[in-house]
């Protein structure tokens, strides 16, 4: 597979892989807003800035962002079960209760976010520090668990020994830097969201810069932990996506510099470049997932056959029909709501 993902794959595999990457991108954007937003809120809590406009914006919007992140997580969860059934199921079974702990963690995280929204700046100082830190812990556990699960799904050599030892925690060297990479990426993502909602341009740029630096450091660390066989996957099509990622990152960095030093906000530059970054990450993940099967001919063959079988199943036109209807309905409703809001007294 030397062409960039999803090209060069058998059609069914490319189709489901692309759907997974696209829906994952949507999920990732909101998951990152939640993760990065909670981290930012925790820092603001420690700095004791109750009336801070960023803190207020975050408190106001994060419960909604979490609801959307969860909802958007369901679609990649579905397509993942077609793309890599065996890897996902096996990793889920091995991680067992450890992996399932993300569910209570998310429920607790949601109610803590809601509590912060309700309390607003009325909360006592200690609560303003403690609540976001606890929330951050819940979302960190969630994000980390997904990274752990993703790497474990591909590390087939450890499966049997992990099972035999009843070990639910997978401690592959890649997991931590990988998660830190995603955590760093979440800072520019939330900075962009806050930038679009407030006028705090300079602070957003600062946060975005920290995130971009974190991405570079954690990526370097991640490469350092990879065995040569995994590094070899970084060629051909995957290299192309890496270049797209680097280009998106460089453009975003330039955009944030304009924001920081010239106070010029250019959503038309920042939003697409960041989308390129997130989309490249998603595509690269899939390209690397496929590359991890390169040496396992039988497993790969089986997977391709499974994708082909899935592709023969009916129902796709109905999905497309309802997707179009949904888009039209939401567009119509949002126009109507926006019109009424602009006329209402609270506008």
């Amino acid at each position: 597979m030397d062409l960039p993902f999803p090209f060069g794959l058998p059609f069914a595999s490319a189709f489901y892989g692309a759907l997974l990457a696209l829906t994952f991108t949507m999920h990732l954007v909101f998951a990152q807003i939640v993760l990065g937003g909670t981290a930012w809120l925790a820092i603001l809590g420690i700095k004791n800035a109750p009336h801070d406009s960023v803190a207020q914006t975050l408190r106001n919007w994060l419960p909604f962002a979490l609801g959307i992140a969860i909802t958007l997580g369901v679609a990649p969860l579905l397509f993942l079960q077609i793309v890599d059934k065996q890897g996902f199921y096996t990793a889920g079974l091995l991680g067992s209760h450890r992996f399932m702990a993300i569910l209570p963690a998310l429920i607790v995280g949601f109610y803590l976010l809601y509590l912060q929204k309700k309390l607003g700046n009325m909360a006592h100082r200690s609560w303003r520090v403690l609540l976001p830190i606890l929330t951050l812990l819940a979302f960190t556990l969630t994000g980390y668990s997904w990274s752990e699960q993703h790497v474990l799904a591909q590390d087939r050599d450890v499966w049997a020994s992990m099972y035999a030892a009843s070990r639910m925690r997978y401690s592959g060297a890649e997991v931590l830097p990988r998660f830190l990479f995603f955590a760093s990426t979440s800072l520019p993502t939330v900075a962009l969201a806050v930038l679009l909602l407030t006028s705090e341009a300079k602070r957003c740029a600062g946060v975005a810069w920290i995130g971009i630096a974190g991405m570079l450091v954690s990526a370097a660390w991640l490469f350092g932990t990879m065995p040569p066989s995994r590094l070899a996957a970084w060629s051909g099509g995957n290299l192309a996506w890496s270049i797209a990622l680097a280009a998106g990152l460089a453009t975003a960095a330039a955009g944030w510099s304009l924001v920081r030093f010239r106070s010029r906000i250019r959503p038309a530059l920042l939003v697409p470049s960041w989308l390129v970054v997130v989309l490249s990450i998603a595509a690269l993940r899939e390209g690397l997932r496929i590359a991890s099967l390169r040496t396992r001919g039988a497993a790969r063959e089986q997977l391709v056959r499974a994708h082909e079988r899935a592709f023969e199943v009916g129902g796709f036109p109905v999905f497309v029909l309802f997707a179009l209807l949904l888009v039209c309905l939401l567009a119509w409703l949002s126009r109507r709501v926006a019109r009424e809001l602009s006329r209402s007294p609270g506008a």
């Binding site: 679609a75 059934k85 079974l93 569910l103 999905f319």
Partner: protein, 473 residues
Amino acid sequence: MQDFPYYPVLDFGPAMKGMVIGGIGVFHVFVAQFAIGGGWLLCLLQWRSWKRGDALARRFLDSYFRVLVLISFVVGALTGVGMWLTSIQVSARTIGMMVDEFHWIWATEWLFFLAEVIAGYTFYRYASRLTDSTRFLLLLVYSLAAWGSLFWINGILSWQLTPGGEHGVGSVWRGFFNPSFWPSLVYRSFVSLTLGGLAALAVVQAMQGITREERGHLARTCSLVLVPMTVMPLVGIWYVSVLPEDSRAWITGGSALMTMAFGIAVAASSLLGLYVVFGVLWKRLNVSFATAMLLLGLAFGASGAGELVREGVRKPYTIRDLLYANSLTQDDVERFRVLGSVRDDPWPLREPAPTASLQTGHRVFRLQCSVCHTLNGANGVDHLVETWRPDQMRMNLASLQHTKSFMPPFAGNATELEALVQFLLWRRSGEPGEWTDTTTREDLDKNHRWLVEATTAPRSLADQSTPKQGGGR
């Protein structure tokens, strides 16, 4: 042969796997149905506020909606994901087959879920600044989308019980609109209305700052969505009438647990229906908070028992005619009768027994039995075979589906059967560090003969057919 997907088999200690999924399942269904029924009630209230200027209905609506969003959006969604992850823990192959067959249905359901969340959040944030008609529209989209998710998922879940038609290419819609689709949809829709209405009654009673009359007025409005509950017994009869005969037999005396659960579901829903019609709507009784909670508890019991019945009557399958409860297909059973079932099992044993044959027995137990039995906890196989003599054990295990018809046929050869027997005998002897296998040629021959006599067909089919498949060594 390597096409058989061996997944790691988990051990939940003394708990049966079904208990784990059942617990989350009942809770999730309860919350999800509450959200659906609640949505329709909100539409009714908004309609009254819009068309009849009912200010009280509007006040109530706004506070009830917050409860609905706070509980259902996140807890409902996450317990739904929880159901998915737990199903994987219990039977990855079942959920895998369902995803393969119905992923576009699931993807469509997800679109409805998305619409529900977006309409719901928009209402939550902006309703106070919107006109009555837009508020109504948003609630209508919310309710239709929530009920739509039920519509889609109902097709997949009812397919497990009555798949109808051929499995394979092009069968999605035949499978989706399967024989139990409509009764099951009506049943679930009515349960949803009931849960939404009862929860609303509790909120009405907990509301501050309204008079007794206002409370009574609101309670009667909320009770309107409870009316369909009264025809629940008829829906129950319809549902039972489309069940396959053997499934029906479980709830009519074939299994004590299933019969009891079915009885609880019928009795609790009838009681609820009667109370609503005679007490609330006709006699206009004032429903106190405690009574509302009690009724909600009754509804929880009814819906829990209903779900238990739905899960239970599928036995010995998880997907009728396609996949046995232990994740084996009929083809697997026939193949494994010849080749053995654990020869290629790549998963090591966590506590290996002293001999290779005992280890084989343990693996056979893990693959074929452990989904419904523990070793010595709930439904523990140690206790069940406690009094069986070795030959009795051989015969009963060889003809598993005849021993109890909610078990699948044994899917191994004579040697694996013997290994399982030895493993159970070894456990009965207190798991000694050394074990001398006393199996004779004659024992294996007996195993072989009993396997042949039992055939590979499941009980209901086996009853009608003459033995057709050979067992192997």
